[in-house]
């Protein structure tokens, strides 16, 4: 509706997109389809730019890079899919492009989250306070949560830089673990009511995990495209 569409039209578009995205999820597991994956990536780009151009929160100016991992996941998968008649074993070039996309997506999202953490974004403060209370019974003060966020912000930016510059396998592994932890903090801070918010953010850990596994499998931690 903010884009000038009547509410019923906007709602219909939203519902249609939700239906297609569910199909993407099923097909990605059973039999990935390029067109569906491309739609998924395009939808995420559209959503992030819609948020960016119609902000409703102080961190929305970071939306395009915060959503990068959700765009990268389906795009990367497109490059990993064999074309019809092609053997399952892919050429090094396409694998490299896929890994390159995943790497950039993961790094961008970590940069965005790092910057949000350094701003002591209120929602992040509450995730820490809520999770500590729910799971550990600890009462974390706001100032301690903010100090922790400063450390987390530096940590996220450092991980993004290391991933881009060094491309160490274990950095990707740690990012995967941290990505899953932060995604599931939506559940742990509220006791489960926000499970869907965690699911939306599953790529925060999933994409670094894909990088970790790919680099593990390839033995060489450096995508071919980056080799000098």
């Amino acid at each position: 509706m903010e884009a000038g569409l009547p509410e019923n039209v906007a709602s219909l578009i939203d519902q249609l997109a939700a239906g297609v995205l569910l199909a993407v999820a099923v097909s990605a597991i059973v039999r990935p389809i390029r067109a569906l994956l491309l739609f998924s990536a395009a939808w995420m780009v559209a959503v992030s730019f819609a948020i960016w151009t119609n902000p409703g929160s102080t961190v929305d100016d970071l939306a395009p890079i915060a959503h990068a991992v959700r765009v990268a996941a389906p795009l990367g998968l497109i490059f990993l899919l064999p074309r019809s008649g092609e053997k399952l074993t892919l050429g090094i070039a396409r694998t490299s492009i896929a890994l390159w996309i995943l790497l950039l997506g993961a790094a961008a999202t970590f940069v965005a989250h790092g910057l949000e953490a350094l701003q002591h974004y209120g929602r992040f403060v509450d995730l820490i306070i809520g999770s500590a209370k729910t799971w550990l019974g600890w009462n974390v003060s706001q100032s301690n949560a903010e100090n922790l966020l400063t450390a987390i912000g530096i940590h996220d930016l450092l991980l993004a830089a290391l991933l881009l510059l060094r491309r160490w396998r274990w950095v990707a592994g740690w990012m995967a673990l941290w990505g899953f932890i932060t995604a599931f903090s939506r559940v742990t801070s509220t006791g489960g009511a926000d499970w869907h918010q965690s699911l939306i953010r599953i790529a925060n850990g999933g994409v670094p995990l894909a990088l970790f596994l790919a680099w593990w499998q390839l033995v060489r931690p450096v995508p071919t495209l980056f080799k000098k």
Binding site: M1, S57, G122, V125, D126, I129, S141, Q142, D194
Partner: protein, 591 residues
């Protein structure tokens, strides 16, 4: 056209509720606000276009009623400053300033008459009523979300102003946030502030605001406009409206679980034993009619329920709702009632009527509305008052007094620049220009005079139209209404009066042109008719407009202006308002 306008003028009464033009050091965009101790304190705030040097509020318990007699009290504004502007606003808006005079030592339940003064220029005389220090009955009004739907915003503001005259014991207006589209832009606050003047009653009563920060109100301007309600950036605070009624204003845009939750618990614990009625207001809805529950829910609801909050005033959803009383996620007569949620102008959304907490005796719907609360000794009464659709329809030129009507004939120059600035003035000979019917443009099928040679060839079009300035004097408000893509600069008799999507400069040297789609009529207030009449003088005046496309290669262009006065048909709002919901609550000890 002019004859028609004059005939129409003879048959209508002027509105008399227009806002003050922001120019020079004329006090404009006034608002009063309450935070703590509204029995004895109030902040009077206003804007001036230029910074000025001396700013005062004069006040007394008796009116001056147009005489020159001095007021008993005079308070200098303690806080003055220029509004924080974004880089692209500086060229146009630099110098616009806020002034806050914090008045203390007031008497409870007392009407004070006041005038604002900046560098010797005074506002009209207005008045306000302080909060009671005893248990007498009073009313307050609550509403939120005035960020879009400017025509409806003006209507509902006007309605609030009429309510203030209708109910002498209506003493405050709690705003639930999302005043404007984006709080970091003073270009967005500027019309809101002007429109807020319409909440001043026809008899000159101003309702003090108790402001809440919404998700569309980030940045320093909120604090510059409302003088740091609570504390700067935190903006959570308690207003003890009477010895028996407290309103806790919370901020849903910062951490809900941290210091704010600690403070909230302390306030609830302190106030509950002392107050018959305990309320809170915040922006994002916890029991929403439209969206998902707000993130503060797990942190605030247990406190609301532990300390027996009576009423939570919510916004953000752009709909109307009252929940059943809720405790532990179930209907419970001892629970909290959540009411709202945002109808001060924003287009309304369809509520999710199937949600359990909206079932009877709860309700939901869609309408521009306010919540009118009355606190008596043995009850609290809530009435949700909606404006009929006819009162809040989007702006339509034919509903207004036409000065230059929609679809009028204009002189226009396309494909070249006029050179110099003379073309903007009344004396310019435009007989060599073409004539065409508004709007002008190409593509999108929304234009009448089609400029099919424009794309790739030129990016600017110049328009001129004459109107009778003597028709202005009796009109309360004049607005330029434009559908435009991408930008324009408008001049009245050679003087720039407004611009949009053009950062700086004019004509061929215009810079900072931003993309903008012509989605509908957009309104640009130009001031009262009397102000414009004194500036333009008698006889013909000229409205000149230059339209800009962002680039020559832009895929479409539209410039469709008209100049209008106040609405032609303005039914009495109070008589037409619709009672959408009413419920009465007994004090907790009687439930």
């Amino acid at each position: 056209m002019i004859t028609t306008a004059l005939l129409l003028l003879a048959t209508i009464a002027p509105r008399g509720d227009a806002w003050t033009t922001l120019e020079g050091t004329t006090p404009a965009q006034w608002r009063l606000s309450w935070s703590a101790d509204p029995q004895h304190r109030i902040t009077a705030s206003w804007s001036t276009r230029e910074a000025g040097t001396e700013h005062f509020v004069h006040y007394d318990v008796v009116p001056r009623a147009g005489t020159d007699a001095p007021y008993a009290h005079k308070q200098a504004a303690q806080r003055n400053g220029e509004y924080t502007l974004r880089k692209d606003e500086i060229a146009i808006l630099k110098g616009a300033s806020y002034h806050h005079a914090r008045i203390t030592g007031l008497e409870p339940s007392t009407t004070y008459w006041f005038q604002l003064e900046s560098d010797g220029v005074r506002s009209k005389e207005m008045h306000f009523l302080t909060a009671p220090a005893d248990d007498r009955a009073f009313r307050m009004v609550h509403g939120g979300d005035s960020r879009s739907g400017h025509a409806a915003r003006q209507q509902i503001n006007s309605y609030i102003g009429h309510l203030a005259d209708e109910f002498p014991n209506l003493i405050t207006f709690a705003h639930g946030g999302d005043y404007i589209l984006w709080g970091e832009l003073w270009a967005h606050w500027r019309p809101w502030l002007s429109h807020h003047e319409l909440t001043t009653s026809p008899r000159g009563r101003v309702l003090p605001l108790i402001p809440t920060r919404g998700n569309h109100d980030p940045g320093p301007l909120f604090d510059e406009i409302f003088d740091d309600p609570g504390e700067p950036t935190l903006n959570y605070y308690t207003t003890d409206i009477s010895p028996q009624v407290s309103l806790i204003t919370l901020n849903s845009e910062i951490s809900a679980a941290g210091d704010q939750a600690t403070w909230l618990e302390a306030e609830l614990k302190r106030l509950r034993p002392e107050r018959r009625w305990l309320m809170t207001q915040y922006h994002r809805a916890i029991y929403p009619a439209v969206k998902d529950p707000a993130a503060m829910k797990p942190h605030w609801v247990p406190l609301f329920e532990r300390y027996d909050l009576d009423l939570a005033l919510e916004s953000d959803g752009h709909s109307v709702k009252r929940t059943v009383p809720i405790r532990a996620e179930a209907q419970d007569p001892t629970g909290v009632v959540y009411i709202g949620e945002g109808g001060l102008g924003v287009p309304q959304r369809d509520p999710k009527t199937e949600r359990w907490f909206l079932q009877e005796p709860g309700m939901s719907g869609k309408a521009h509305h306010v919540v009118l609360l009355k606190f008596g000794e043995g009850y609290m009464n809530s009435r949700i008052m909606g404006l009929p659709e006819s009162q809040t329809r989007p702006f339509f030129p034919a509903d207004h007094v036409p000065l230059i009507a929609s679809g009028a004939t204009w002189r226009y120059l396309a494909g070249s620049d006029p050179g110099g600035e003379a073309w903007r003035g009344a004396g310019f000979d435009d007989s060599a220009w073409k004539t065409g019917t508004a709007g002008f443009g190409f593509a999108d099928e929304d234009d009448v005079t089609i400029l099919d040679d424009m794309r790739g060839e030129y990016s600017r079009v110049y328009l001129r139209a004459r109107f009778d300035a003597s028709a202005l004097a009796d009109l309360s408000e004049i607005q330029l209404a434009v559908r435009y893509d991408d930008g324009f600069v408008a001049y009245l008799n050679g003087v720039e009066v407004t611009r949009s999507s053009v950062g700086s400069g004019s004509g061929a040297s215009a810079d900072g042109i931003e993309a903008h789609e012509a989605k509908g009529w957009e309104l640009f207030p130009l001031g009262t008719g009397a102000e414009l009449a004194s500036r333009l003088g008698e006889g013909d005046a000229v409205l000149a407009i230059e339209g800009h496309n962002k680039t020559k290669g832009s895929s479409d262009f539209t410039l469709d202006p008209c100049l209008v006065g106040p609405p032609l048909d303005r039914a009495p709002l109070l008589d037409e308002a619709v009672l959408l919901d009413e419920f009465t609550l007994s004090p907790r000890e009687d439930r």
